[in-house]
Symmetry: C3
Subunit: 211 residues, 3 copies
């Protein structure tokens, strides 16, 4: 039955996205020379934190990840693998960045559509999509004692917001779910990859900073 | 009808408070030389974060700001204006500080009364009022990578707690809402402005710090 | 009646745990030369923060601490005492660490069992137990502008997770609550004290960190 197949596909994609996000979290722990536990926690919050913030804000508690153990095992596995083989994983940085863009595009769409499902209006639903996609990385950076990298010029949040907005608008128009998801996903992924390849930056403040 | 007028007045005051708080958040982003997105996020969390914490803790989800797009547009506008004209806004620091005291006094009262409305007892309701008033600024500082300024001697949280406590007590006594709100607002604003003018400080630890 | 006695005992133990955790929070504030308000807030979030995160995630809002003023008075008292007598409290560091281990063992068990009560599955319930025990300390460290100490090699989170897991498994087996609680508590406390006495460390990443 196609419905079941879609659902299975979505869970698999979701778990892949969580795995890659968790790898980026565990890499930060290793590079700050923190311990194994830090690698697991930073992996876990990077992979699941954005969804947790969204679920707590829209009142969808307990979050899905607490009701399905697969969502907890995946970041643990990512953390262990990264901790054990970090020189190898670190050398695959470009591959990680590529998969990270994939996770970003996936989560901005699933996050926005879940918010719509919970009766949130279109503007906050798009915002929730962006929060789902970038929230975990922001918690990771705060816990690791650094300013969120998303604040320092990389075009990362804007593609997520754009992808979420496209998904929300097309869903409102009434297009089929597959089209809605594909359009939102493609918008975010395309923009993010272009930004990476061409080195696009978010606008920085002009003039002296300490006025 | 007076009820509608009161409601409109409250929304307008609320939006003014959010705007000013958001300006302080965006100014922190500009001064740390972070990008436009950081200005919007730090503006948004400063303006809305305190209310989000309160709403999540008292179970009032989704927070009001996610159900009314005006609450999302205002911090975005504040962030854009501050980012574009930061040398001007920065020179208006004293005006910003004055309006910030106004926002503090407003949010400690509305935050406390909302908690009372949700059946929270008087002591935690006063605490929720303070959290509404100062929580956004604390998230701003953590995200910007600095210790919350509210921890470093400025008399900022105490007036907010006092204003919230006055509002909760007078509400419990059964006074009309207008009196309750005015007394709480006046307590917080008066104390905060006196602290600013006279340079009052919160007590600091005595003796050597690293015992 | 035994039930009432059990309940009273649990509340007293809970308040003792919160007090000790709050002392560690207030000590961090004093050592960073932050003001009295910071001592109270860092005390409060250290004592109550872990339970707040758990309650928000499992949907048990408002958290118990907001429905019972004793849970708010205790960290305030701990913060005031620590602020006023910090040279004395600081010299009692070993006693504080001992009591802190007691609070850790207590909270991992009560946190896990509360999550089970709210219908959370065994794996996430054990995780919630650990979060209850270590979450407050992590918020304390983030607010104080330092990387959570739990990330830097001390065996602190693992005993909490182990104690929570033991409690969840034995509860699922159907043993009486007293046995369940004692076994979980003993597992965490024993492991933590052994780690302190013998200087056990969590695994650190091998090889160069900045690959």
């Amino acid at each position: 039955m196609p419905t079941t197949e879609y659902a299975t596909t979505l869970v698999v994609l979701d778990l892949v996205g969580i795995f890659v996000f968790a790898v980026t979290g565990a890499l930060v722990a290793v590079r700050k020379h923190l311990d194994l536990f830090a690698a697991l926690v930073l992996g876990g919050v990077t992979g699941l934190g954005g969804g947790f913030i969204r679920d707590v804000l829209i009142g969808a508690t307990p979050p899905a990840a607490l009701a399905d153990w697969r969502y907890l095992i995946v970041p643990v596995a990512a953390g262990l693998v990264t901790f054990a083989f970090h020189p190898v994983v670190g050398r695959l940085e470009r591959v990680v960045t590529l998969f990270d863009a994939f996770g970003l595009a996936l989560f901005c769409v699933t996050g926005a559509l879940k918010a719509v499902d919970y009766g949130v209006g279109p503007v906050p639903a798009a915002l929730m999509g962006m929060v789902t996609a970038i929230g975990g990385g922001m918690i990771r950076d705060v816990l690791a004692g650094r300013v969120p990298v998303v604040f320092e010029g990389a075009l990362y949040a804007t593609p997520a917001l754009a992808g979420a907005a496209v998904a929300v608008v097309l869903d409102r128009v009434g297009l089929p779910l597959g089209v809605v998801a594909a359009a939102g996903f493609g918008t975010c992924l395309g923009w993010r990859l272009l930004a990476l390849v061409r080195g696009w930056q978010a606008p920085m403040p002009k003039g002296p900073a300490n006025v």
